[in-house]
């Protein structure tokens, strides 16, 4: 999560670390020295909320009775795409040439800010202190050090964690000021355990955020998909994402959501309150004043961008560099299910049935194209609309050639 205006940045790091907390550590290059007051531990619920608000959504429409003319309602469901973030394997060690610029405990985390004369010393120091760096990390560490970056190292203080009573790892927040609007991803690609997955939520003032050194591509959206997608929206979305990544040769960052935080339509979750935004690091929102019980105003002057990238060393040789554009147009990943009218009809609805069958066939092809799933399998799963609720007879030529 990146909050940025001018050169001020607040980064919130959450990850999907599953193992024992004692094995957890974060090693992140940062462009400036980070002092105690610049670090905070956030509430995971904030990120979950933002994730839900920006998640791709499935919208459902019901066909009206073809024999009457009125509109029916709309419902919606949202998919919670699991969050994953490149968790740089970390570990520790000691050697000369390493300067501990700061050391403090924030919440359940012990934090060190390190700089070093040379990468070998730093890597050796980290290793000796029990941090595991991926094999081949040294040249990357060297590159960051020579760019005058520090290393922000955090690991869980088990005593503090027990005292505070948290069982899950909470996200770490760091506030700093630097012209560099970037996200270091190179440490995550060195050991090449397949591709890494990263979601970036950017909160800015003027407009959409995009990468300057890679293409930022809008995911296909606003398409009609077959009804059964509802049961497996998560799978559908992952397949769609994989397929689109392939299509871009694994070299693109995808835009999943871009919206003014003041509203949404349709909303996958309520917009975040001003208080929540502030706790996420949106520093230009004034702190809530006034008496108790005052309703926090809806977020304003905040534009959210959600980016999703699957990266590896070949497609993403260097770190993600961002810039803020003036584009305030809205975008969301939105997929539409249209329910046919399956109840009895009181008139000759054959024209309606034919049009629905045509639509279902079109949806099948769209789905195959979006996800790379087999067209035949998709057709199997579609309940083609037919007379009296029976699956319609497919035209005899449908399966002739494909």
């Amino acid at each position: 999560m990146l909050v940025r205006d001018d050169d001020r940045t607040v980064i919130t790091m959450a990850n999907d670390f599953q193992g024992d907390a004692r094995d957890f550590a974060v090693v992140v290059p940062v462009p400036t020295l980070v002092e105690r007051g610049q670090v905070n531990v956030a509430d995971m619920a904030l990120i979950d909320h933002l994730d839900a608000y920006t998640a791709p959504r499935l919208v459902e429409y019901h066909d009206p009775d073809p024999c009457r003319s009125y509109e029916r309602m709309e419902e919606l469901a949202s998919a919670r795409v699991p969050m994953a973030q490149a968790s740089e394997d970390a570990a520790a060690a000691r050697k000369r040439g390493v300067t501990i610029e700061a050391t403090y405990t924030v919440g359940e985390y012990d934090i060190l800010v390190l700089s070093a004369e040379d990468s070998g010393g730093l890597v050796a120091w980290l290793t000796a202190n029990g941090y595991r760096l991926p094999a081949g990390a040294e040249p990357v560490v060297r590159s960051y050090l020579r760019q005058d970056m520090r290393f922000f190292v955090a690991k869980v203080n088990l005593e503090e964690q027990a005292r505070l009573g948290y069982t899950k790892l909470r996200p770490l927040q760091v506030a700093y000021e630097s012209p560099r609007f970037m996200l270091p991803i190179r440490l995550g690609t060195v050991n090449a355990q397949g591709a890494q997955e990263l979601f970036v939520y950017a909160l800015t003032r003027s407009g959409r955020v995009e990468t300057t050194n890679y293409r930022t591509v809008r995911l296909p959206s606003d398409t009609e998909v077959p009804e059964f997608v509802e049961e497996e929206f998560g799978e559908f979305y992952r397949a769609l994402f994989s397929r689109q990544t392939e299509k871009q040769n694994g070299r693109a960052v995808f835009l999943e959501y871009a919206w003014d935080m003041a509203w949404c339509d349709p909303c996958a979750a309520d917009p975040l309150s001003a208080d929540e935004l502030r706790r996420l690091g949106v520093f230009w929102i004034s702190p809530p004043g006034g008496g108790a019980g005052r309703v926090a105003p809806q977020g304003q002057d905040v534009f959210v961008t959600r980016l999703h990238v699957r990266y590896d060393q070949a497609g993403f040789p260097e770190d993600l560099v961002f810039h803020e554009t003036g584009d305030r147009s809205n975008f969301q990943g939105r997929y539409v299910i249209r329910r046919p009218w399956r109840a009895a009809t009181s008139c000759d609805a054959s024209a309606y049935y034919a049009s629905v069958n045509e639509r279902q066939e079109r949806e099948a092809r769209v789905l195959a194209n979006l996800t790379g799933w087999e067209l035949a399998d998709i057709r199997e799963r579609i309940r083609f609309l037919g007379e009296a609720g029976e699956p319609a007879q497919e035209p005899w030529w449908k399966r002739l050639w494909n």
Binding site: R146, Q147, R180, E210, Y214, H323, D327
Partner: protein, 321 residues
């Protein structure tokens, strides 16, 4: 009013139009038809009116069209109003910001950077052209075609060579893989800049040596902006900042003023003597420069295959085209 059959700008317009179409259709770049129409209308209108006011003999739409396409390809705005303003600034700058009879800024560059600095609603999307090796090759090829027609390749060559050298030096210093260097050099936006913007013969120095120097300086500044100050849009900002160097280099080095003329493919004129005369005349303002020698060097560099790039009959009139 007759436009020469194969003005290099014809190639440039064709190539830029292909790029714009490919960007919109193939890369999903947000090129809005309304903006294109607005920019074209304002650019051509400004060119016509300003040309009348400046007393130009004829209305030449080619440069306005090149500017239109450059703005369409590179500049993104959140509304047609800013797009129109960009066109007005671009063409207006040609007529108003002039030094020694030459306009100072590349029109599209001036408009893009001025708007970007002044407004949140204008930006450029440097990553959107991708960095695929094949695309980079095709782009370079098309760019080269235009450059060789215009016979002013030195700026581009110097810019790209210097930028590549600096990137390589950085990678070696940091111990980074060369993949990062290639990633930057195959960036579509960088190549569009190098082949279609900095190459502009009307706003680069008249002498070949001046162009080499100019390209190298722009590259150095672009590199510093991007990799030392960590700011985006290095090349565009660098060209904007370096524009005042052009009259300075012209003053120091002289050289023949560029004219948009038909390609020698169809116009075989052989008047080398007057070419030299023309070059000499251009240098006359600076007595310290060894005139004959430079003119000879210039002719050598600018006349590959013995074709002529300069039409002497028109050489005295240097107006914005």
């Amino acid at each position: 009013m007759q436009t020469p059959a194969l003005d290099p700008r014809h190639f440039q317009i064709a190539v830029l139009a292909i790029l714009a179409a490919f960007g919109a259709a193939g890369l999903g770049i947000d090129i809005r038809p309304l903006h294109l129409v607005v920019v074209a209308a304002v650019a051509l209108g400004t060119q016509y009116l300003a040309g009348r006011l400046a007393g130009l003999a004829r209305f030449d739409p080619l440069s306005a069209l090149v500017t239109t396409l450059s703005l369409t390809i590179l500049l993104r705005t959140d509304g047609p109003g800013l797009a129109a303003l960009a066109a007005l600034l671009a063409i207006g700058s040609k007529f108003l910001l002039r030094v020694r009879g030459k306009h100072l800024f590349n029109p599209a560059n001036f408009a893009i950077v001025t708007l970007m600095l002044a407004s949140d609603g204008a930006w450029i999307s440097t990553g959107q052209w991708g960095s695929a090796a094949l695309g980079a090759l095709a782009l370079s090829g098309l760019g080269w075609l235009v450059l060789t027609r215009a016979r002013r390749a030195e700026t581009t060559v110097a810019f790209l060579a210097t930028f590549a050298a600096l990137l390589t030096a950085r990678a070696l210093l940091l111990g980074d893989p060369l993949a990062i260097v290639f990633h930057h050099l195959s960036n579509g936006a960088l190549l569009i800049f190098a082949f279609f913007m900095i190459s502009d013969p009307k706003t680069t120095p008249d002498a070949a040596a001046g162009r080499l120097l100019f390209g190298a300086i722009v590259a150095g500044l672009a590199f510093a902006i991007q990799f030392l100050a960590y700011r985006p849009y290095g090349p565009l900002l660098a060209l904007y900042a370096c524009a005042p160097l052009t009259p300075l280099l012209d003053c120091l080095l002289g050289g023949a003023r560029y004219r948009w003329v038909a390609s020698s493919l169809f116009k075989f004129t052989r008047q080398e003597k007057s070419d030299a005369t023309h070059a000499t005349r251009g240098l006359g303002r600076n007595d310290a420069v060894p005139v004959r020698h430079r003119a000879g060097l210039l002719r050598l560099l600018r006349r590959p295959r013995g074709h002529r790039a300069v039409q002497p009959g028109l050489a005295g009139r240097a107006g914005p085209r």
